[in-house]
């Protein structure tokens, strides 16, 4: 089964993502960047959903470390963010994220389409 890693500090957002995605994918969860970086190597996810605003190490720094790690660098990483400012999408894509999903999640199809696109299913 395809495995997704969810890196998100808010328990309510993790619960929502489990509800939306748990029947389609195996989900591994991390609530902070340190645990995520340690756990991604062991859990071998096919894709990462990465919150930007995390306490301590934020999503941009986690992404930078993923891209600098030979074992993880090719992982598709989708940014999850409640920052929805003009130009954000381009900024996140330039930073090395594969895609960008805004919170709150209104349409689950948008999320699933983005995931499937980067898993090669669409």
């Amino acid at each position: 089964m395809t495995t997704l890693a969810v890196v998100e500090d808010n328990a309510d957002n993790r619960l929502l993502l489990r509800a939306l995605l748990g029947e389609r994918y195996e989900i591994v969860e991390f609530d902070n960047g340190i645990d995520a970086l340690a756990g991604l190597r062991g859990s071998h996810p096919d894709l990462v959903l990465l919150d930007i605003s995390l306490p301590g190490m934020d999503g941009n720094e986690i992404l930078r470390r993923i891209r600098a790690d030979d074992a993880l660098s090719s992982l598709p990483v989708i940014a999850l963010t409640a920052h929805a400012m003009a130009g954000d999408r381009e900024r996140y894509l330039r930073a090395g994220f594969n895609d960008y999903i805004t919170k709150p999640i209104i349409d689950e199809a948008v999320l699933i389409e983005a995931i499937e696109r980067w898993l090669g299913g669409l």
Partner: protein
């Protein structure tokens, strides 16, 4: 009465029952109830952390706490509270504390209304 500005959209709809209906569609009454319970459990602490950040001069803590509260509030349909948090988050990000205390007071007042609304949802009256 709140001193914080309201946008036209939040003036019309401070709470959005459609958001609760959406959560129910995403995962049934079980998900809706769990999301409401988590929110009611965590939101007061997030607002308290934002207030503590302001009191101690740690505006980054205020910004981060308001950001979390904004995201959760918007997902649950507490749109006016989400707008207040976003306004406070923007000010805190700029590093100028002026106006944040009033926004936090308005947020606390609004959170009380949101809690009542969500308690109603939990009791099965909404959506």
């Amino acid at each position: 009465m709140s001193t914080a500005p309201r946008t036209a959209s939040t003036e019309l709809r401070p709470t959005d029952p459609d958001a609760l209906a959406r959560l129910k569609r995403f995962g049934g009454a079980k998900l809706l109830n769990e999301m409401v319970a988590l929110y009611l459990e965590s939101a007061p602490g997030r607002l308290a952390a934002a207030e503590a950040g302001l009191a101690s001069g740690d505006l980054m803590a205020t910004e981060n706490s308001l950001h979390s509260l904004k995201a959760s509030s918007a997902q649950l349909g507490a749109m006016h509270l989400a707008a207040l948090c976003e306004h406070g988050e923007t000010i805190a990000h700029a590093g100028t504390p002026t106006g944040i205390a009033a926004l936090l007071a308005a947020s606390r007042e609004e959170l009380g209304r949101v809690e009542q609304w969500l308690e109603g949802a939990r009791a099965g009256r909404l959506p």
